[in-house]
Amino acid sequence: MKVIINKYRYLGGINDEKELTLLYREMGIEYSKFFKMDGLCKIGFLASEMLLADEPERFQPLKDRAVICFNGSSSLQDDSNYNATINDADNYYPSPSLFVYTLSNIVTGELAIRNKYYGESSFYISRIFDAEMICRTVNEAFMDEETNSILVGWTEYFREEKEALMMLVSRADDNAKGELMTVERLQQIYTNERQYKKEDDGRRIN
């Protein structure tokens, strides 16, 4: 058994939720739940829509597809927003709609709901994009015999760091064709995509 990378998309250079809403409108998606989401879910959602738009039989329920995401800051952006509703005793109005997003794994739930993925959903924290850990964790997730493909995400949304790399990887026979998921390849994809994004932004400014 081996794991191959089917496709990937990167979304970066985002400054705030307004830009994510603008992008949502540009993409012509109609999904009203988007407007309830926090920034982490929005950026993960849009990157996954870019990745999955051309999926054959989109929205057919899949029991064998997992959603596994990683980041360094958990849900600290929404945590900060929720905290602002409780930190002043004279202006104490804890918000339930903010509180439900104060968990990093809500983004994996949103992606499972949108795409009807009934497989595993997991969220791991790592200070940096740790290609070795991500590769190992994703490979080992295929030890679950019912998991045949995984939507893998690096979804970061806190302070200056706002980006999402979404990949679809799948279980394959040893002699199957396709791009093998390796530590080196994951690192290369992440580094290159961030670099392309920066160069692209540079061109736009010039």
Partner: protein, 378 residues
């Protein structure tokens, strides 16, 4: 096989697994009613909390003040130190991996010191692993209320793949205004002691615990084995229940694929005592063909301990199975879910060899694990 080799619980009921287990068998709960103003929360709430002075005292006695640790880090370090006491396990070994399970870590620092690295879970995990001189980057699972189970499933995978020989799983969450006010605003909190699966249940209590499970690859079939585990999403709602118990059902079906329900001593359910959670679990259990298996839950003793729940409850369930007991569901009186499941109201005995740990959480996520007791005479 993947064997449970050492455990510890640091909680309101005591600082060892044995002390906690004995108190639970005697029906003693750590949950108290805390008045408004506690943790700066303007409304009163029911919870079990670790006494700060007792924690400081125990930390001073058993641990070294190597750095400036938060309450969560102190409780976690103390728990690991006590778990390893009397064992030959070397936490600094290259083949040993630390796995931290926590939902909110030091989220209280957002209020007092928001630009400190303390707010990051990776920082807490590094503080804990560094205390023990462990060279490997710790794994951190933050998968809502099923995190404790996920951390054990990760341990199972890392050990089965041969990457590591020993996994030290630590589940820890401490209560603060952030967490208590959040559950209050969701109207999920019970005004009194929680009553899992009961007809009069009115919501959950919260609790703080640091708990440790050390898993190792073992050639000998003995003690408690973590046989398998599964995580499945409902794909239904981020904070509401699945009416079909979809994820719990799918996780249970997967872990029970090679055993018969008659061999299972009990299912230790999540049983938060919210209307929706307990109902959903009863549906998942019944759909999976496990309706006749005794069901218990331990929230009446500790409240919902968030990222520690899966670790804490699996330890107590393991102790119970080794003593051939099924622990009582404190707070349960009359069945209040739609499915006629067998909720264990008083302590029972069992001669069976398997138990299941079931959990569900926000984000539509569910986990189930299968444990087996290997007896020396078999």
């Amino acid at each position: 096989m993947i064997r449970l080799c050492a455990t510890n619980i640091v909680s309101s009921l005591g600082f060892s697994s044995k002390e906690n287990y004995e108190k639970v068998t005697r029906g003693i709960s750590g949950v108290k009613l805390y008045p408004a103003g506690t943790l700066d929360v303007p409304k009163d709430f029911c919870a079990s909390m670790i006494d700060n002075e007792r924690l400081e005292e125990a930390f001073g006695m058993h641990c070294e003040p190597k750095a400036d640790y938060t309450k969560l880090e102190k409780a976690a370090i103390l728990s690991v130190v006590l778990a390893l006491e009397g064992t030959s396990i070397d936490p600094a070994d290259n083949d040993t991996l630390f796995i931290l399970s926590s939902t909110k870590g030091n989220v209280d620092f957002l209020e007092t010191d928001p630009y400190s690295e303390k707010i990051y879970l990776w920082h807490s995990s590094r503080m804990i692993a560094d205390y023990f001189g462990n060279p490997n980057t710790p794994m951190i699972v933050s998968n809502a209320c099923i995190s404790g189970a996920c951390a054990q499933i990760v341990a199972h995978r890392e050990l089965s793949s041969g990457k590591y020989h020993t996994a030290i799983v630590v589940g820890a969450d401490m209560l603060c205004k952030f967490i208590v006010s959040g559950f209050q605003t969701l109207r999920a909190m019970s005004p009194t002691f929680c009553r899992p699966f009961d007809v009069d249940r009115k919501g959950l209590n919260l609790g703080e615990v640091a708990a440790t499970m050390v898993y190792r690859v073992s050639e000998e079939k003995e003690g408690i084995e973590l046989v398998t585990g599964a995580i499945r999403n409902d794909a239904n709602h981020i904070s509401g229940p699945s009416r079909t118990g979809e994820g719990g059902y799918n996780a249970l079906k997967y872990i029970c694929r090679n055993i018969e329900s008659k061999d299972i001593a009990f299912i230790n359910a999540h049983g938060t005592a919210t209307l929706y959670n307990d109902e959903m679990e009863s549906i998942a259990i019944t759909r999976a063909g496990l309706g006749a298996v005794p069901v218990n839950c331990l929230k009446g003793y500790y409240g919902h301990t968030l990222g520690a729940a899966g670790v804490l409850e699996a330890i107590l369930a393991s102790y119970a199975l080794q003593s051939h007991n099924i622990l009582a569901t404190k707070g349960f009186g009359k069945l209040g879910v739609s499915q006629p499941i067998d909720v264990v109201g008083g302590l029972r005995t069992t001669d069976k060899d398997y138990f299941i740990k079931l959990l569900s959480g926000f984000g539509g996520t569910n986990a189930a694990m299968l444990f087996k007791l290997w007896r020396n005479d078999k």
